[in-house]
Each structure stands twice: as C-alpha cells, then as structure tokens.
C-alpha cells in the first residue's frame, strides 16, 4: 500500500521540518519571541538561491550555501533592526509577537514585489517555480539527490550545532546567555552578540530548509506562511525550549503529515488533500491538551 517514494518524501519533508522547528526553537530560547515570520526566512533563503541560479548557471545544489547566507542575514537584520531595539525599550512578549506578525506581512509582500521584478527583468517563473533534481547511482540503486543531500545537510548541521554548543567557548557563552542573561552579562559575556549569532544561525538553518522546498512543491512567496503551522506544531510538540525535542518533533509531525495525508486520501475515506493542515493542527491540539510541556519533558527534569 505504501511505496518507498512516499516514505522517502516523508523523510525529506521531515528533514526540512526538523531544521525549521530547530531554528524556531533557537530563536524562542534566545529572545523569547514566538517568531510568526519564521517560515518566511526559508522563503527568503530559497529566493536568494534562485536568483543566484538565474544569474549564474551553476548546478542547483551549489547554491545551497547562498540560501543559508540569505536566510541568516535576513534573520540577523530582523534581530538587529527590530527585536533588539524593541527589547531595549522594554517591549513585552506580546508586542514582540505582534512585531513578528508585522514582519511576516512586510516580508511576504516584499517577496511578492521581488517576484514581479524578477519576472519582468529575467522572463522566468518567479512564482510556483521548481528545482530539477539529480539522481545519484549508489551501488546500483538510484537515489534522488534530494533524499541524500537533505539528510546529509540535517546530519551535518546538527553535528556542527552540537559541537558549537557543547565543545566551544562560544557555546558555553551562548548556553549561559540563554539560561540567565543578566548573570551572563555580569560575567563579561556579550549577550547581544551571542543572541545576534544565534539568530544568524537560526535564519541560516531555515534558509537551508527552504532551499529544499522547490524540489518537492512549486514555491511561491506565500509558502512561508503555509508552512508555519507544521513548524510550530513540531516545536511545541518538542517542548518549545528543547533543541533535541524540536528535531524529534519535526520528524514526528513530518512523517505523520505525509503518511496521514496519503492514507486519508485513499479509499475508503477519500478526503481531499486540501485538508492536509488538519494533521499538524491535530498534533498541536493534542500536545496542548495532553502534554503541554512537550515530549522533552519526558526525559528532562522540569525546570
């Protein structure tokens, strides 16, 4: 009933979601802001990569670092220009949340304008565009590049983040700044710099996740809003303050969304695939009702 293609698609989608929920969790942990513009960072990244592809005709996967850079820089810009000054002026959590909503609207309309300009100047598809995949031949089995590269990206980015947080001096400073900003400040840690770096990293991770979008589905400026619900569902399922929880949450939500949508659209139920967001929504609601501290509370002591 299930063929491998669907399982592989679930893997790719979950890879993407894991990166996105991980990076959302990183921003929530540092600045304590629920960033409703987080999905847009992914789209900024992919539009950056796509522009580079149009200008320089290189292999698609070579533009992956561009997506990281664009996502990262845009997130950094958000932090430096909006969130950090607002926090200094004593804005509360809800005001930061509203600011992120305003950033979402501004970013999406900016991307829409950019898509118009792109179409006008280069005569290319600037909405609903797709990337063509390559197929690798590994020991006789044909593997889609997307499956391989998205998995490799997640593994290597997670490894890099782990080493950065656990093995370097900067990581110690970062964990201290997250744990207790005031105390960290007293000990001579530049909290502002640490937070800015974590925003850059989070944006970069989101940009990488966004880069994989056009291989799966036609990508448009508004996609960033559509993927917001699964990202939040994954992050909240993970416990909203746990990086490992966010990754696991990403895989749970991703796999259930793909498999669930597939199973519900088959006979005897024959539900329209348009109801797909209902699955992450159901996970979100169940988490809030049954385990509001998320799955991370199962293995870490309550703080």
């Amino acid at each position: 009933m299930l063929d491998t293609n669907i399982l592989l698609d679930a893997l790719v989608y979950s890879n993407m979601l894991a990166l996105l929920s991980l990076s959302l969790t990183l921003t929530i942990m540092t600045l304590k802001v629920a960033n409703f513009a987080h999905g847009d960072l992914a789209i900024i990244g992919v539009y950056g990569a796509y522009t580079f592809l149009i200008l320089a005709h290189v292999a698609t996967y070579l533009t992956l670092p561009i997506a990281f850079l664009f996502g990262g820089l845009y997130a950094l810009l958000n932090y430096v220009l909006v969130y950090s000054p607002m926090r200094r002026r004593g804005a509360n959590f809800v005001m930061l949340m509203i600011a992120s909503m305003a950033i979402d609207i501004a970013t999406r309309s900016m991307l829409q304008m950019y898509a118009d300009v792109l179409k006008l100047n280069f005569k290319v598809y600037s909405r609903a565009f797709i990337f063509n995949d390559v197929v690798f031949n590994i020991a006789g089995t044909r593997v889609r590049g997307l499956v391989l590269i998205s998995t490799l990206s997640v593994v290597s980015l997670l490894a890099i983040l782990y080493v950065l947080l656990m093995k370097t001096k900067f990581g110690v400073a970062m964990r201290a700044a997250i744990e207790n900003p005031a105390l960290a400040e007293v000990l001579g840690i530049n909290v502002e710099k640490v937070y800015a770096t974590s925003w850059f990293l989070a944006g970069g991770f989101a940009g990488v996740a966004g880069f994989f979008l056009p291989f799966r589905i036609p990508t448009s400026p508004d996609l960033g809003f559509i993927i917001l619900l699964p990202i939040f569902a994954a992050s909240i399922l993970g416990g909203i303050n746990s990086l490992s929880g966010a990754v696991i949450g990403g895989y749970i939500v991703g796999v259930s969304e793909i498999l669930g949508t597939y199973l519900l659209s088959q006979p005897p139920i024959n539900l329209s695939t348009a109801y797909r967001p209902a699955i992450p929504f159901a996970i979100l609601i169940l988490t809030l009702l049954l385990l509001p501290q998320g799955i991370a509370s199962l293995w870490s002591r309550g703080e």
Partner: protein, 350 residues
C-alpha cells in the same frame, strides 16, 4: 456625483464593519492583553452563517423550489429572493435578525472552542492555535461546497431590497454604523467599569490579579467569547453588504489589519480604536486613488501591504502607545481648581 455618493457609502459601511472588529480586538488585546490572532475566523463565522443560511431560508420563505446544485445556483436564487424581499420587508428583516442571532452565538461558541486547548498557556500557544484554526476554517469553507459554494462563493439576498435605491445604500451605512456604535459603547462601558479595571489588572500583572481571587481563565474565556461574537456580527453585516461570501476573502491579512488599527490608534484606549480605524481607512483609500497615477514595476497592492507592515513595526518601535495613549482611569470626577495665581487647573480639589 453618484460616484462620490457610492464612495461615501463604501467608506461609511466599511468604517462601521472595521470598527466592530477593532473594538473586539481592543477588548481582547488592549484591555486583557491577549491578541486574538484568529480574529478573521470569527469574522468568517458570521459571514459563513449568512452565506449558508440566508439564501436557503429566503427560498423557503418565498416558496421557491430549489433545482440544481447549491454551488452553481446560489447566485441565481439569491437574486430571486432579493426580488421577493423587495415586496416583503418583514421577511427580509426576519432573515437578517435570525442570521444575526445565530451568527453571534456561533461566534461566541467558536471563540470558546477554538481557544480552549491553549487558554491556560502562554500567549504564543494561543496565537498559533487561533491562526491555525482560522486557516482550517477557511480551507473547510473553500473545499466543502454545500456550505458556502466552495471556490465559487455564494450569493446573499439583499435584505434591504425593499428600500428605493439611494435610500438602500444609506440604509447599509446606517445599519453598519449603528451596530458599530453599539459595539463600541459596550467596549467603552466595559472599559470604564470595575470589570475593565479587572481586565487591565490581569493584563498588567497576572499573578497579582490571581492572588486577589480573580479567575484568569474565566475572564479570558468570557472576553474571547464576547469578542468573537462581536466579530461574527461584523461578518454578518459584511456578508449582507457585499451580497456574496467567498471563503478566500477571509485570509489572515484581515487579522493583521485589525491589529494594525488597534495598535496604531492606541491600545488600551477605546477612543484610540475610533481613530485607528479612521486612519487606516484614510490611508487605504488614498493608496487606492494613488494606484491610478503611479506606475511601478510590481503590483502596487503588495506595495501597500508592505507599507502597512512597516507602519505597524514603526509604531511598535517608536510610538508603542499609539496615537491616543491609554490614560489612567478617572474613578473620581476631576474639577477645575484655581492655582495660587488664579489660573484654572484641572486636578482633584482638596
């Protein structure tokens, strides 16, 4: 000349509809501090109720038998029902009042149900729950044809068809503005009452309020139910005024605009809401007129949305109190006193 009249009708009616929405947001965010990021869902709840029921009840009252699919025939039948309403004003008013009554109950119930899973949690949990619920509601409306005709939309009979043209348009302004005035007065009365002081106490220091015996969850639930019912009323008037309901019209952009109006006008002050809605409509209409004179390499509607996004950011950063800031409440009426040099001074007299 007729054009100017229609423009005034549009501005007046939309001002009323947005004022109802903004008043409900001001109650929830300005007074209680929880921004209802799913506002559009409750607005849609009102409009969907009208879309699903008005034409069906209308054909039943008029004794017309329905042939063909709801999706393809609703526009035709709503025209027939409007013609029937032209000679039967009482039936038209009954349909309006019935859908209004049902929609406000729908809004209140939906407000409680949609916020229930996250009402005890931090604001971001509640916000994403409400955003997602609103999106699912819209998706349901778009894909389930028997409700409001799916992607085709649904026709809504004209409940003021019995008025002569001219008076009819004025009727819609009057309808919209009178409901807006009533909603705003409810907000104002609540805001200046002990209930409003309790809400602001919860907003400013939840823990302190709960130590004084205030049941935070109960207050949140009641305010969300009331705010959602208000938004549903706005949806009913919107549906009847537009003459049709289309699911995709109810996207999260509407929620953003309402938040913009409340923050811009000054959250925490009901008078700020009056100003915020007016400023938004003024800006929106100005941009709409400018569209005819400016040529840009992109769709100017996106540019307008971009400007509104940036405007909200600037207000939040540099003038978070809005145009009319929140003032300490007067619990004792101030009198004019004389200073030493004899000039009047507005303060409490000894």
């Amino acid at each position: 000349m007729i054009n100017l009249f229609l423009l005034m009708v549009d501005i007046g009616t939309m001002y009323g509809i947005f004022l109802i929405l903004a008043s409900s947001m001001e109650l929830e965010y300005g007074e209680l501090g929880i921004p209802n990021f799913g506002k559009v869902m409750f607005f849609a709840a009102g409009a969907f109720t009208v879309g699903a029921l008005a034409v069906r009840i209308g054909t039943w009252l008029a004794g017309i038998t329905w042939e063909g699919e709801f999706k393809t025939k609703s526009i035709l039948y709503s025209t027939l029902v409007s013609r029937y309403f032209a000679s039967h004003p009482l039936d038209a008013i009954a349909v309006f009042l019935f859908t209004l009554f049902l929609a406000s109950i729908m809004g209140a119930v939906l407000g409680i149900v949609a916020s229930y899973p996250a009402i005890r949690l931090r604001e971001d949990y509640l916000a994403i729950t409400l955003i997602a619920a609103g999106e699912l509601f819209r998706i349901f409306g778009r894909n389930y044809d028997p409700l409001i005709g799916g992607t085709m939309g649904v026709g809504v009979p004209d409940v003021l068809a019995w008025l002569p043209s001219g008076a009819k348009e004025a009727g819609y302004i009057l309808l919209s503005l009178s409901f807006a005035a009533a909603t705003w007065l409810i907000l104002y009365r609540l805001s200046t009452s002990p209930y409003g002081r309790t809400l602001r106490a919860i907003r400013d220091e939840e823990l302190a309020a709960s130590t004084l015996g205030k049941d935070i969850v109960k207050y949140r639930m009641r305010v969300l139910a009331l705010g959602s019912a208000m938004a549903a009323v706005a949806g009913v008037i919107y549906a009847f005024y537009m003459g049709s309901v289309l699911a995709d019209d109810f996207n999260p952009l509407k929620t953003f605009l309402v938040v913009l109006m409340v923050v811009l006008g000054g959250s925490g002050n009901p008078f700020g809401t009056l100003v915020g809605v007016a400023v938004y409509i003024l800006l929106d209409r100005t941009l709409a007129i400018l569209k005819h004179y400016v040529v840009l390499p992109f769709d100017i509607n996106y540019f307008a949305m971009f400007l509104f996004g940036v405007l909200l950011l600037l207000v939040l950063m540099y003038k978070p109190e809005g145009i009319i800031p929140e003032r300490p409440l007067l619990t004792v009426r101030a009198k004019f006193c004389r200073r030493e040099d004899g000039t009047p001074e507005r303060k409490l007299c000894d």
